[in-house]
Subunit: 203 residues, 2 copies
């Protein structure tokens, strides 16, 4: 199982953002929507073994919320940015503020903050922080069940990074080129497909 966890530092967590202004009113919700799409979508369907978690830290009520999408369960998702952001917004608006709710099939919303989310994903997966100054992913074996943690347009803060590293995360890199988060997720999926044998005739 592959899991991508993206930290949206200014991403709105209340649902009161405009679909016509995802970068501004959504607090770079464009990046989170495209990250979800890069993680889950193939050309004609969803990756069945993949999850994406979006930690939204920029709500005007000061309350972080976490969206989980599960590739094998998800329905009614489309890969374009606006449709993806619209599903996220619907989940946020319908959420009552306690516990976890399934807003649409395969899409869950909760009041987890980053530490809660990291605690939970660390129970069934290894943690890898994807950042330009980590060790080269091509020179390391990636465990089958891994959660890849990424920032949005900002890297993790020192406090966030410290929370992550004290939970045993390894810092790994796709190269020194600073890609957008959604580009890095597409590339990481590709590297995993490749190491599973795609392209060399063994798959």
């Amino acid at each position: 199982m592959r899991r991508f966890l993206v930290v949206g530092h200014r991403a709105d967590s209340t649902g009161y953002f405009k679909l016509d202004d995802l970068p501004g009113s959504g607090g770079r919700m464009d990046i989170l929507a495209m990250s979800a799409s890069a993680a889950l979508f193939l050309s004609h369907g969803l990756r069945q073994d993949t999850e994406v978690w979006l930690v939204l830290n920029g709500g005007r009520d000061g309350k972080p919320r976490t969206i989980r999408m599960i590739g094998s369960e998800a329905r009614y998702l489309f890969p374009d940015e606006r449709n993806m952001a619209s599903m996220i917004r619907n989940a946020l608006i319908r959420y009552k503020g306690k516990g976890e709710m399934e807003s649409t099939p395969g899409m869950y919303i909760s009041d987890m903050d980053l530490k809660d989310a990291l605690r939970r994903v660390s129970q069934d997966s290894e943690l890898i922080y994807l950042k330009e100054d980590g060790d080269d992913v091509r020179k390391t074996e990636i465990p089958e069940n891994t959660t890849f943690v990424l920032g949005d347009s900002e890297d993790l803060s020192p406090a966030e990074e410290s929370s992550l590293m004290t939970m045993g995360a390894k810092k790994m890199s796709l190269g020194k080129t600073h890609m957008h988060t959604w580009q890095a997720i597409a590339v990481m999926n590709y590297e995993l497909d490749r190491s599973a044998g795609d392209g060399d005739g063994t798959l």
Copy 2:
């Protein structure tokens, strides 16, 4: 120089599509916009050595048009899908229908169809058709000046593929996994960065 040429089979070429409905009224303009973003954008800026060409074949007036964006010249571009589509729409609406016009700095629009566009890019670059059943890109040296040709949500038609191959294109593959066009472009940029030494300490 890297160049990505994407064929938008149903993509509107008149500018009369809705920014709120890029997949439908735009004829999968979401894919073309994200492809431009994947080709040109790094996390904090534009790739200076990269161009993207979008051939729009789905205009209601039956006239194909081609948009060119040049990374080293481009201004006023943002990486989110809606902003990118909005710049494309503005170019289409302002275009008078003959010759080539610079709609905003680094963004050009013309009445080239796919054959015209292929003829032009073949003058200063090798042609590679990126498709799942081609030869593995990892096992081949990519020429410095290359135009990578991709379909949108549809592969090239037999006639389009034939035009391309008779101009000397090679068919190459990033693996058997069917990615979205914009994902494949992000991955191809990454492979080129890698073969230029990014990540192995030689860059």
